[in-house]
Amino acid sequence: MNARWVGQDVPRVDGLEKVTGAARYTADVKLPRMLHAKVVRSPHPHARVRAVDLGKAARAPGVRAVASGQDFPFHVGIYLKDQTVFATDRVRFVGDAVAAVAAETPEAAEEAAALVEVEYEPLPALLDVRQGILPGAVLVHPQLGSYQKVPWITPEAGTNICNHLKVRKGDYEAALRGAAHVSENTFVVPQVQHVPMEVHVSAARVDLAGKLEVLTSAQSPFTVRHLLCACFNLSHGDVRVSVPQVGGGFGGKAGINLEPIATALALKIPGRWVRLLIDRAEEFYAAVVRQGLVATLVTGVDRQGKVVAQKMHYLWDCGAYGGYGVNVVRAAGYTCGGAYEFPNVCGDSIGVYTNRPVGSAYRGFGMQEIHWALEQQMDMVAHELGQDPVEFRLRNCLGPGKRTVTGQVLDEHAGRVDKCIHKVAEAFRRPLEEKPGLLRGRGLACAVKAPAMPNDAASSVLLKFCEDGVLEVLVSGIDYGQGLRTVAAQFAAEALGLPLHQIRVRNLPDTDLSPYDWQTVASRQTWATGNAVLKAAEKCKAQFFEMASQVLHAPVERLALEGGQVVDRGGQGSVPLTRMVMGYQFPDGHTIGGPVAAAAHHVPEGLLFLDPDTSQSAKPVAKWTFGAQGLEISVDPGTGQIQVDRVVACYDVGKVVNPGLIRGQTFGGVVQGLGTGLMEELKVDALTGRVRNASLVDYKIPTSEDLPGELEAHFVETPQADGPLGARGIGEHTMIPTPAALANALFDACGVRILDMPLTAEKVLRALQAKRAKE
């Protein structure tokens, strides 16, 4: 197809709405007679709940409903149902929900919440993931063996391990014995927060006929409905979940979050809307966070500089609940080797409960964390061998014909990390200018990620024409800035030859009205929804052709769609689409066809489960997106501060659907990556389990003033066989390699290695001082 719309730098279709403030977010929606909810949260990291007395709170002024674990001892969780709506027998982190109240005003709710009396019996807390796997460790979930789960995760009853994925390929032990050089290092990544502009907010109402309606800031309306039904034992027919505009999610609004608490309160007071809007502090300690990681890598290389043996031991700090996090653990397992071909592999990805904030999905789904380890390790080994890190990577990287850690042989459609490395290395040929008083350096890191989703994760769409020929495209993925609405419009315009202004993407998904979509996660929307739009467009086209064939007395094979008309390529005739969108009426009045509309879906094809003992699988995931980033930095040897001067990013995206949007994704990802690389860390007090920096004063993320001096985005286009016009996912990948590239640049600049993220000025300075002391 000679693309006219796909590949063009068209502006966002929802840009005007967002910049004018017309866009409505959940908290903007004025709900009639709405009550305000407040959650009572545990002050203890680990305690038995002896008693919860709601009496005083229930009698407080303005209070309309109270609820606790006694009323709703129901389990919830997307992959592992290890959490209850409210704590029942014990609390597992500072912030665990114990009870909630709904009142006429936020103030009344807060005052009443303070009147809830909870009797705790504090228990020893597990706050360090490394201790969680030791014999005799405090058990966070003694009932682990009894929880419901999906078949493809493997919790170990009687331990803190909520999932363990083993990857065994070749003969690691033998290969290691034969290695010419062996290197072992341990890397640490702290828990971090998503920090979306819009905090979590959910509202619920049970109407007097018994129907539950939920309005929520979420990435997955259908999954929220599904999990709510499972939790409260409701029929999907009686639950409606809708999502207004979402002000950022980054994984933190995937799965299910505040919805069960809002629903529990709503069930207590039928007819009233109950809205739970948490505050920024709660967002930091009570909403989900990214999991922490302790990664130990062992690399054995031969004399030529080829890795022959690779061991990867990933210990994930899942926090108090692993409902979603267990799948991060799994994804990190089957991707444990990153962008490289390792012939002999021993990989273990282990999820461990602790009494810390709850881990969950976060842009990259474990990949930035493991790349922090993998990409530094590759650099370290290259330097130990006296080899150029770029050459060393090229010698060992994946590519067509190479085997991943799970034994999948990549084909020619898989994307080319080698080309991305070359592109970055080329940009690096420019000499690094000296800057007085600063140490300059550059570093590179690669990235890979596959979508982590169930094998049947679906996206569906509905296309329907209006009377005037405007095409409505209903999609149920969430567009929180990545540009789904715009690319959906581009694909529809492309397939039907319509101008973009004649297309409206209807995208405030409502499970009562919108087509099914599993979740907006895993960098899957452009790919999955894009495919579904193309398929539905073909079906619309077929309906037009069927009518036109009768109107023009021409066989369907002779028809073509051109400039808003169906044209008979063999004869003279043509019919405008506008004459057919509601069916075609002949001059004598008889009518054929009808309103043109079509539904279609996309489901990944041919995915196969992993072998339970070795994780080998010929096709464990739908696609891989590879890339590389190079960073040039300046280090201040007096303060340890790092200034990022230049970032060069290159990804093999199959097809650039929209150059402006993909640049935006790349720059945004890089800056988010710099945030985690340079400054972000949830500081959890080692004694009390409290988050010490639960505010935007104390937890910093980058602002526009932290943008690198130069940012370049390059793209390779090796078409994805099952991608819409060859496109594959990119949303998460842009932040995966950034911290590792930063650490490698730091080493290049001043010869120090820091293995625990983030690279704060203080750590850099101390490392420099330690190095000077040794010299």
Binding site: P106, E107, E110, D279, A281, G638, T639, Q641, L678, M679, K683, R692, N693, S695, V697, D698, K700, I701, P702, T703, S704, E705, D706, T760, A761, E762, L765, R766
Partner: protein
């Protein structure tokens, strides 16, 4: 959560004082950028807020007959940072104002609020300490003039008496023309409280007297007289020695922004750099 409070607005200093007296738990409100977030975070609000922004005389930045400058308590940080009198004659204060918070924040925040809040990291305090400012306060017992050096008592604590309203901050004529260098270390480039800040100021040509102020390394913003004396004697050659003195004089703590030992080290590094930058600047101007 922000608790309910009574909001009142004064039109004159007298009215402000009277409104304050009218409730047992009153607070003056300027930009509110410290007061309101704190009330929200702690869940405790004063019973009554007395807004002083509408008092006309508090809004002025004006030259004093003796060559000094008076900054009204309701003048915003942005206004002070850009006022020609400040930029030309007291550029050190403009520099510190410019370092505070973000563009929108500076439109609301006031210099008076910054020092009355008495945080160890109050940016404008560094300039006011170096320039020997005087705080003018009106209270139930009349008007008082308090040296900035006597204002700060501890974190969040000043020597102002109950009910005293700061009406103006005065910069003495003797400080006019002073030049300074601010070294300010933050975790990110913009909108961050200083992990450490060091302001080194040289009083106008002729005297070449030094001033050294430190932020975020002791319970209050502080000056280091001993380091100043040394710089007065040795000039830039004394930078390293002055740095050592300042490192010893400060009393930093560990917190989420940085450790005490890192802060102490940075006091030295920033001080030396500021001294050399000042010398280079003077050299460049041929003074």
């Amino acid at each position: 959560m922000l608790r309910r409070f009574e909001y009142t607005q004064a039109r004159s200093v007298e009215e402000a004082l009277a409104l304050w007296q009218g409730s047992p738990d009153s607070r003056y409100l300027a930009g509110g950028t410290d007061l309101i977030p704190r009330a929200r975070a702690t869940g405790r609000a004063p019973a009554r807020l007395v807004d002083v922004k509408a008092v006309p005389e508090l809004d002025q930045v004006r030259a004093l007959p003796d060559g000094g400058l008076s900054i009204g308590a309701a003048a915003s940080v942005a206004r002070v940072a850009t006022a020609p009198e400040v930029r030309q004659r007291f550029p050190v204060l403009a520099t510190c104002c410019q370092a505070l918070g973000s563009y929108p924040l500076r439109q609301r925040a006031t210099v008076a609020g910054n020092i009355c809040n008495a945080s160890p990291c109050a940016d404008t305090a560094a300039a006011l300490l170096d320039l020997d400012a005087v705080v003018v306060a009106s209270g139930p017992r009349g008007v008082r003039r308090v040296s900035i050096h006597e204002l700060f008592v501890g974190p969040g604590q000043t020597s102002l008496e109950r009910g005293e309203l700061v009406t103006a901050i005065e910069l003495p004529a003797a400080s006019a023309g002073a030049r300074g260098q601010l070294g300010r270390l933050t975790r990110r480039q913009g909108v961050d409280i200083a992990t450490v800040a060091v302001l080194v100021t040289v009083l106008p040509a002729g005297s070449l007297r030094h001033r050294v102020a430190l932020l975020s390394v002791s319970p209050t913003p502080m000056r280091v007289a001993e380091a100043e004396n040394l710089l007065d004697q040795k000039g830039p050659d004394g930078a390293a020695e002055a740095a050592a003195i300042a490192r010893a004089a400060c009393r930093p703590i560990d917190d989420v922004r940085g450790s005490a030992s890192y802060r102490r080290d940075m006091v030295g590094v920033l001080l030396e750099r500021a001294v050399h930058a000042l010398a280079a600047e003077r050299g460049g101007r041929g003074a």
